[in-house]
Symmetry: C2
Subunit: 294 residues, 2 copies
Amino acid sequence: MSLALPVKKITVVGVGLIGGSFAKGIKASGQPIEIVGYGHNEANLQLAVELGVVDRYATDMAEAVKDSDLIMLGVPLGAMQSALEAMRPYLKEGAIISDVGSAKMSVIEAVKTAFGELPARFVAGHPIAGKEKSGVAAADAELFVKHRVILTPTPETEQAALETVRSLWQLLGADVIDMEPDYHDEVLAATSHLPHMLAFGLVEMLNEHPELGNVFQYTAGGFRDFTRIASSDAVMWRDIALSNGKAISKWLRHYQQAIGHMIELIEQQDGDALYALFHEAKTARDKHILKKTD
Amino acid sequence: MSLALPVKKITVVGVGLIGGSFAKGIKASGQPIEIVGYGHNEANLQLAVELGVVDRYATDMAEAVKDSDLIMLGVPLGAMQSALEAMRPYLKEGAIISDVGSAKMSVIEAVKTAFGELPARFVAGHPIAGKEKSGVAAADAELFVKHRVILTPTPETEQAALETVRSLWQLLGADVIDMEPDYHDEVLAATSHLPHMLAFGLVEMLNEHPELGNVFQYTAGGFRDFTRIASSDAVMWRDIALSNGKAISKWLRHYQQAIGHMIELIEQQDGDALYALFHEAKTARDKHILKKTD
């Protein structure tokens, strides 16, 4: 594969599920690219080497990013800015910086703050893939196969840097599309951040309601699937809730209204309207979700 | 297997996913019990015979329940009362009547209305198992294996009838427990009916919000699992929403408040409280749901 810009060495900052899966995928591709992992937890980084996720690791940022052609940020959103500030003095001239954060406006702001401007070779990105499991032990070279990766270039973004990041994700089997960063944050608030809030909220509510006893024992597969995303990493989701808070709280309010409408229909015993609502939802899901291949 | 009361013939009224799976499971058990299917849709009943779900079928109620030792009602909640009224004149003396409805107080009311009292051999029940698929084609003799079946006897219920129904569900591999009918309806409102309303509500809201375009294309596995139950049968869920409306709307209101609390935490940018909420939810789910075997 030929890249728009040469990439011989990549540093993955934050070797968890997503950063680790990116690294593992690059290594599995057989490209002559060295992968260095950076993090604070040395045991985790040693595990990353043992699992073949990275070639080597460093806990010193200067050493980790030295001579690296591309830095991939896989840390939680709340740790982006400090990681960027820590690496800035040691970056190779012309190094590409990219990330996998679930909200893009806040990462763009963090880069602006850390660098005083948006560097031309910063390419914000977000792979639409995940598991409720976290950590490098769950890293999977196939995680992005046939999954969307959304890149959100700004007017400052250099085309060659954008195409280089695109090619790397395509190498991992992803379907890469471009999007405006603020539209990305709206869409993801509605389709991913909102459902996560709802699942966390339901489990927490049932856990905290003592009046019924332990009701989890009476649940089955429907509840298990509905709440699967409530087993996601709490730090990651705290940071998403804080970083994309405006869009998320807007959609939570829309959803409160939708629930209010359902309560009205139930209290009015309006069977026709309830049937219409459920039928339209089922039809939309069967059409748009069941027919998707991923 | 010896039953507390002799059962040589069972009529399943409403041969869909649950009624059909019950019938198929009894037949798969090899017990010398004849299974007759009753319904309005003859093509569906023919399919039930072809799939080995029932031995034969009738579209005439008198013929369907004639000489039957046990009637299992598998129709939607809204059709229970009319089915009971239709069969009443033709029931064999001493026949057991049971059902698989997802709300129990409304079925008990329907039986009272149809019979003028609660017959001693009426045993209300609810298997906690299902799929988003409906219809006899999805019937599965193994559907209830290691799944809870909740029986909700009343003071009128004869012990021998209760034990007979229990034995039949145990024959299908189910874990049968008894519960007060109103407690059942509260618990199921919280753990099953509420999540279904929430999933239908989310898909419908995103489908109806034109401002973002078709956002379903940007969803992945988390959304697919969260909304799986929104592909459930709309008639069945309309009837549940109407039949257990009081408990469901109560829990929808609790949930609105829980969302309001999350909105406050997000708008206050209270990272510690958000972390605590997500972490407690994750911990509860990992403990109570992931460790379940079903």
